[in-house]
Point group: C2
Chain length 350, copies 2
DNA sequence: CAAAAATTTTGGATCGATCCAATATTTTCT
DNA sequence: AGAAAATATTGGATCGATCCAAAATTTTTG
């Protein structure tokens, strides 16, 4: 193993018999150096095993890292987020744009203690679902551009989100139009709380859903229901983590007379499909199910799942572009789309 | 918006009435500064909105980035890799260790042209499946530690892989022991070639599988078959991309009399399951299927898929630890494990 | 209370490059 | 060929911190 110190630009310059500046130019602004000299420098570099200007030093001079930092949703660790198929979809969107511009993608664990947003070497941040705007403070102080996902953070902060209210509305209206009148809702928990059941007859406040965007979905459900003369307060709600495998069971136990289930998650929607089959119910004859967000699994489940396309990949692409374009503040609101598949049909009973 | 220049350590030092060095120590070696002075500096920093030493400058001085670079498999782009569930598993393993040590995870597009391995700001690299060892050259020249996945790269380079030959052997032996004698193999392509069919009766060279690790699987298959007095040259092989949705169809078309299919990919295994059902065959009565690699989908498919656990997450954890431990070269060989589920049974015909 | 020992603080050099104004060289023009 | 214009090259200053040996201060000891 060669343990001589790493060659620097100065070494190359000396070996090629030119000044540091010329050597620097040969690499970073080749057009300004005579071809002949440029080659001499290239040859010297090759012989010394010099790979080009040290990115660390380059960085210090003009601060462009060529990387984008992703902060996964606050409530989950990095590993958990990567496992979530919807988040994954979003990441692919970001990665696509990074690929285009040749930038790196840095995944930043949310630990405040050591490093994190305060010290990560990136040109900007994409915050996935934040609990408090305060989490973005280090980014602001570092004067790095950032985008907040799934929430409107006011006129001074860029944000990308999907119209969740509209998504919820589309999902519920679809079921209402098919003739359903008895519903069950699978909602999200905020943070790490235990799975929770909300019986009918109680008004639905913000505590019946997780983050802001989930409350919007609930609002959308309520709106479509109310257009049909129904009150969401009469719909039983199960609130669980997206990966909770018992939630589907609880849902069907608690709402045995429901003919349609509205799920705020795709995976929970698919879980309901599985649980219904396990109980010998036929979907969509005995039960209709609509999920939220589109992932490949939705099309491949049996039956395939009717779901709302939450445009996760598109959100990722858009967020990345906002960072790389370095333009003014942008607040984007994407429109969701209902994808009707085989898990919904008119109710047979009732 | 505040557009005054970013405050530096010097500004803080001046405001606190101490020297640069003392201010620096107050942040980076607090034990060496008197508590009283330390607080004075902290107060000055707070008032100026100074967040602590600029990571960019810190970096230049002593070069520790606190991040690990991941180079996705050469033949796919970043976005494609992230979509691959097995790669995803591997990434989760890496992320887990990064979480532990509070490091960032940098995903590096494989474009050689601009940046990439030559300039990424990381402390080390994990190369996923490389075509040529030459791709790791920039890492070596930068004297950064790196690990090569899924291939043994000799005694001077750290590597982590699973014993693919053993995995193949376990899969094929399982089927042989169940009594199968007629097989079909779904293999991988190297790079971007078109889907390819290898008829029986031709000797199987390395061109019948993709990367080194896939050739090992093939060798394992051959070994178990030969123990049962069978020649792999008589087994039809379909070579396709892991995401090719037509490969399963071709496989069943080309090997209609096969009672068992050996797939080098999980997803292709599941695709065969689907295709078989579509044709009205019953798995495992009419056809047995074994996949390679374990992902959640394998347990959830109908019927659940017998597969070889390729220890993807474990590989990720191990590779990350090798980088962070900064120890000597390590060459790890993990043992695969056969997970028997419901997609395999003795053949009914034949 | 002065001298010795221990603890804090300090300025200069450094990390490896880029930028800029000044200088040197080559090319173009009359 | 000599002057003017265009093009290349150069050394000094700089980016924002850390390291280190020397100087200043505080604490301990005889």
């Amino acid at each position: 193993m060669n343990h001589s110190p790493m060659p620097t630009l100065l070494d190359v310059a000396r070996k090629a018999g030119v000044s540091r500046s010329t050597a620097s130019n040969a690499f970073s602004r080749p057009d300004v150096v005579r071809a002949e000299v440029r080659e001499k420098v290239a040859k010297a570099a090759l012989e010394l095993g010099y790979l080009g200007p040290d990115p660390k030093a380059k960085l210090l001079r003009h601060g462009k890292v060529n990387a984008i930092g992703i902060v996964p949703p606050g409530e989950w660790g990095v590993a958990d987020s990567l496992k979530n198929p919807v988040y994954h979809q979003f990441l692919s969107g970001v990665a696509e744009v990074c690929d285009e511009v040749g930038a790196n993608l840095v995944i930043i664990p949310d630990r405040i203690t050591n490093g994190g947003v305060g010290t990560a070497l990136v040109d900007g941040f994409i915050f996935g679902r934040i609990e408090h705007l305060r989490d973005t403070e280090p980014a602001r102080l570092r004067r790095l551009p950032f985008v907040v996902m799934d929430a409107d953070a006011g006129p001074d902060i860029s944000s990308v989100r999907v119209d969740a209210r509209m998504g919820g509305y589309l999902a519920a209206r679809h079921l209402v139009e098919l003739g359903h009148r008895k519903f069950g809702i699978m909602s999200f928990l905020r943070g790490f709380g235990p799975t929770r059941y909300h019986p009918p007859g109680v008004p639905r406040g913000p505590e019946a859903a997780g983050m802001e965007t989930d409350q919007e979905k609930l609002r959308g459900y309520a709106e479509a229901l109310s257009e049909a003369g129904l009150d969401i307060a009469d719909v039983p709600i199960v609130q669980a983590q997206p990966w909770d495998r018992d939630a589907a069971r609880m849902m069907l136990d608690m709402a045995p007379e429901a003919t349609a289930i509205l799920s705020m998650a795709v995976m929970q929607g698919i879980a309901v499909l599985d649980e219904a089959r396990r109980r010998g119910h036929s979907v969509p004859r005995d039960l209709s199910v609509v999920g939220f967000n589109e992932i490949p699994e939705a099309a491949k489940s049996t039956p395939s799942l009717t779901t709302v396309d939450g445009k996760a990949a598109e959100k990722g692409r858009m967020a990345a572009r906002i960072i790389f374009d370095a333009g003014p503040i942008r607040r984007e609101l994407l429109l969701p789309r209902l994808i009707v598949r085989s898990s919904t049909a008119p109710p047979s009973k009732g």
